[in-house]
Symmetry: C2
Amino acid sequence: MSQRIDGHPYEMIQILEHQRREGNTIGFVPTMGSLHRGHQALVEASRNDGNFTVVSVFVNPAQFGPNEDFDTYPRDNDRDFELATAAGGDLVWYPDVADLYPAEAQTSVLPGDLAAKLCGVSRPQFFPGICTVVLKLLNLVRPHQTYFGEKDFQQLAIIRRMVADFYLNVDVVGCATVREDDGLAMSSRNRYLKPADRDIARTLYRTLQAAKAAFAAGERDATALKTQLTEAWPQGLELDYLAFREPEFLNEVTQLEADTRLFLGAWLRGIRLIDNAAVG
Amino acid sequence: MSQRIDGHPYEMIQILEHQRREGNTIGFVPTMGSLHRGHQALVEASRNDGNFTVVSVFVNPAQFGPNEDFDTYPRDNDRDFELATAAGGDLVWYPDVADLYPAEAQTSVLPGDLAAKLCGVSRPQFFPGICTVVLKLLNLVRPHQTYFGEKDFQQLAIIRRMVADFYLNVDVVGCATVREDDGLAMSSRNRYLKPADRDIARTLYRTLQAAKAAFAAGERDATALKTQLTEAWPQGLELDYLAFREPEFLNEVTQLEADTRLFLGAWLRGIRLIDNAAVG
């Protein structure tokens, strides 16, 4: 029987304290709601690791810019509860903004160079806001393991860095991107796409596949491949970045290796689309 | 028998894990070394609270500005060990810079408005550097209680804020300022003062005493008292700030109350001097 906690974390903390005393480990999946199969895969991974699994649903105001979609970001708490519990979640927590950002709160996390790259260039508030809320959530839930999707690979790298730099006592588990049948990476914002947008939105997936095919065919020159893929990018899909990076610090590479990742960011009529994959 | 740990925290963490399993609570006194009776009072407070008491000695590079005294800050690890253990410290830990700031570390803490006031105006790196190292230390030591002196009252307020904002599981204990016989607040930098400087350095203490006397005599107008005290400030002691503030957010006050604090910051031939006290 899964539990639903709205608002203040006190009751959740009691439940988790009980679980720890029983000898159970805690797995934690922080989300912004609008759950899809990508989130469900994180919940399933936590269950498969044997954890009592907590899912938080919180649309984090700190990670949205003033002209971004905080107010219109999709919210459906009842449906999220169904999807989280169907995947094996034991407790779904819906904090209010005042639970995580009371009026007097003023301390935040400042991620470093990693957060200034890729998505951080056009969205400077994004990763500081994510790190701040994730640190708060981790300190409240105090999980043994926490799960993040590789679709947001830069976020995963920054969270891993924060956990290491602050000596947080938690294991960060990255899970493979879950895709729609047509290859589009699962995203809560995909619901904004009109059917007619779908083919051009798949450009990101097709570009990743093209990079993998080139690598498999022996291409090792990152600069040449970047030029080729950029030239093939379609009109009508605004390219934010197309970048080959190593997977830990996301530094640029000139020579492709199997773990080099291609990172893509774009806007389609104002809808944010990102994707990434290793070329090898 | 007190223990001394140099460098990497692994051995300390094992010892503290053992203490917790034995049912002991952990008290933690973070210091920059050059221990004096002020630090010893923090160690004694932790001992009196029944804690297994850890003292860290670490001159934190992140809290010094480029033209400040990081390189010349006094260091004497053997003497510090004697003073810490004489006061009842059970374990003294001397991390190396690479233990707390490995080359790949890049995540830091950004305190808010509290850190932009008083000492934060002239020393912008100071409180972000303190918060970052204190968060790291707290996460490594994982104490039940941690002790800070009220001489650094702004630091204490900022640490309390960070602990609340990040939901850290530790009790922050503030301890009264310890003073020399002539009233000068204990400080590691007092050793830089020449005998001839001593009388003018005592201006801070005399000013606090004057404010208390004025309050006791019925003065409630903060602005008038500030003007009066500033006009009495001597030549040769460079005033950084003289400010009446409430004790939680350090906001300015116009009406003095018993818990209003007078904060003083100054330089004497380049030597930093600070002090504060409640007027009531």
